[in-house]
């Protein structure tokens, strides 16, 4: 199979800037406090990762290990300082569900807006609209403003839009922990179904039992380095040890 994702030797350095004001920058420079302006740290150090089409990969690691940063590089939200990222086909991110939702719009408007944000065409949203609403179990509330939704409804709708974008590569960042039990099962079922249909999945989660069920391969990150890359069971046991 061909690679769906090729990450070769990417490094990312974050500059933590302590001021966002031109005024303070000028004052600090004048006072010789240049060192106070920013601090740097490496979020990713020479990370390489090839994912074949149809693989299910979990990115594991403690907080701050660079999992989400790596995911953002795959989605294109961030660009690496060095190295290259290449992907094949449409990549959709469930990077924080509902990022594109607007509280003052109705569910229907949000489905269209979010679908378009995730790269769907007008025709695609029209065709899949009913399926999206049905999966989300929103029913008659679809024309209600999203601000009145319970957090569960909100999440269900957002998740539903994302899974219906039908991407080749699916990026999932820490979203499965939310929602009630039945819907969570439904989501996991949907994700497993996507995997069976040959979609590529990259999952970031702290729920190790969950990722063990969904993913076959685990990549363990620590402070921006790949510590381990192999079967999920081994990756999980290493992280737990």
């Amino acid at each position: 199979m061909a690679n769906a994702i090729e990450v070769s030797g990417i490094s990312k350095q974050f500059v933590l800037r302590h001021t966002r004001s031109i005024k303070e920058t000028v004052v600090w420079l004048a006072k010789g406090r240049r060192g106070d302006l920013s601090k740097k740290f490496h979020a990713l150090k020479d990370v390489s990762l090839d994912v074949e089409a149809g693989e299910t990969v979990a990115l594991l690691g403690l907080n701050g290990s660079g999992k989400s940063t790596l995911l953002k590089h795959i989605s294109g939200v961030m660009l690496p300082d060095s190295g290259t990222v290449r992907t094949r086909g449409r990549v959709a991110g469930l990077i924080e569900v509902g990022a594109g939702f607007h509280h003052d719009l109705s569910g229907r408007d949000n489905v269209y807006l979010n679908g378009a944000i995730l790269g769907m065409t007008e025709q695609e949203v029209n065709d899949r609209f009913d399926a999206i609403v049905e999966f989300a179990e929103i029913g008659e509330f679809i024309d209600t403003e999203v601000r009145f939704y319970s957090s569960g409804m909100y999440l269900r709708l957002a998740f539903s839009v994302a899974v219906h974008t039908d991407p080749e590569v699916f990026l999932i960042d820490e979203i499965l922990a939310v929602g009630d039990e039945p819907f969570q099962r439904k989501c996991i079922g949907k994700i497993q179904e996507l995997a069976e249909r040959g979609k590529t999945l990259v999952v970031v989660s702290h729920d190790l039992d969950l990722v063990s069920r969904i993913c076959a391969r685990g990549v363990l990150l620590e402070q921006g380095n790949v510590l381990f890359d192999g079967p999920i069971s081994e990756a999980v046991s290493r992280l737990r040890s």
């Binding site: 199979m1 061909a2 690679n3 769906a4 090729e6 974050f14 500059v15 800037r17 966002r20 004001s21 031109i22 005024k23 920058t25 089409a53 953002k72 590089h73 795959i74 989605s75 294109g76 939200v77 961030m78 660009l79 290259t84 990222v85 290449r86 992907t87 094949r88 086909g89 990549v91 991110g93 990077i95 924080e96 990022a99 594109g100 607007h102 003052d104 719009l105 408007d109 269209y112 807006l113 378009a116 944000i117 995730l118 790269g119 065409t121 007008e122 080749e168 040959g198």
Partner: protein, 292 residues
């Protein structure tokens, strides 16, 4: 399977404004969202886009037209014919520019949550802001046209083209500066203040409230040429030509070389600003996600 036939591509590298043209559906939805959200829960709704410029117009008209004597009247023969139309045709264009640039400059930071999480052509946000302002501009131009018709306006094709050219110049400029400051605002949040200052200057640095002849009298030829090179000045003068000039008896002179020289100059400068804005935006956007 379709995925194997597709090429590997680098994510996150857009084609800039070309991508905006490609995402027309998303642009349309963003504009609609902005309009819906803005007027949500307001009884007057879109009427607000009449009320504010209406009040502003009355204030300027009384203060400048009547008190400072810019309006032509039997006691004040040196004033401008139909000062009300003169003022209004300029003011709506300036208001369009002010709103478009002000919102475009804030658009990236406002949509930071989205930009941090999902990749999409980020140029969409400033462009959508300009678009929304154009939607607000439309009812005002309807009011202007009605006022012009009552004061004896006979629109010709040439006038119409002049108005379109004026609007295009100002819209391009607003989009270009919007991209520039929208990106700069991510890195330095107080660049908003620079925009606010620019907007204040813009109102007074073009012949919206006064006549261009007053400027020419005070400035030398060189300085006046600099004044004329401001694309907003050209836009406002084209609007005057399109809407106000036909309602007068033709005794008020139009700026020399407006069509042969300043119209192309305005277009070229606005276009260059747009190119500059796009280049700056693309240089800075790679780090938007981490800076927001």
């Amino acid at each position: 399977m379709s995925s194997t036939t597709q090429e590997l591509v680098q994510p996150g590298l857009g084609r800039g404004l070309a991508d905006v043209a490609r995402s027309r559906f998303l642009l349309k939805l963003l504009v609609r969202k902005e309009l819906k959200v803005r007027y949500r829960g307001s009884v007057l709704g879109l009427l607000w886009s009449y009320v504010k410029p209406g009040v502003q117009f009355i204030v300027f008209y009384i203060a400048l037209g009547v008190f400072l004597g810019l309006e032509k009247s039997p006691r004040n023969p040196d004033g401008l014919n139909n000062y009300a139309v003169y003022l209004f045709s300029g003011i709506i264009l300036i208001n369009f520019f002010t709103e478009a640039l002000g919102n475009a400059a804030r658009s990236i930071v406002h949509n930071g949550n989205l930009i941090k999480k999902i990749y999409l052509p980020r140029e969409l946000f400033p462009i959508a802001s300009v678009w929304v302002s154009a939607v607000h501009f439309f009812p005002q131009i309807v009011v202007l046209v009605i006022a012009c018709i009552f004061t004896g306006w006979h629109p010709g094709l040439f006038e119409l083209l002049a108005a379109i050219a004026g609007f295009t110049i100002v819209a391009l400029l607003a989009a270009g500066l919007g991209l520039l400051f929208g990106a700069a605002n991510v890195y330095y949040r107080d660049s908003e203040n620079i925009v606010d200052m620019l907007l204040m200057i813009a109102t007074w640095a073009s012949p919206v409230l006064y006549a261009w002849t007053m400027v020419q009298r005070q400035l030398g030829d060189v300085a006046f040429a600099v004044y004329q090179a401001n694309p907003i000045t050209v836009g406002v003068e084209l609007f005057h030509y399109a809407f106000w000039f036909p309602t007068t008896n033709g005794s008020s002179p139009m700026p020399p070389d407006l069509f042969s020289l300043w119209l192309p100059v305005g277009l070229v400068i606005s276009f260059l600003v747009l190119v500059l804005g796009q280049i700056t935006f693309r240089r800075l956007e790679g780090r938007f996600a981490q800076e927001l």
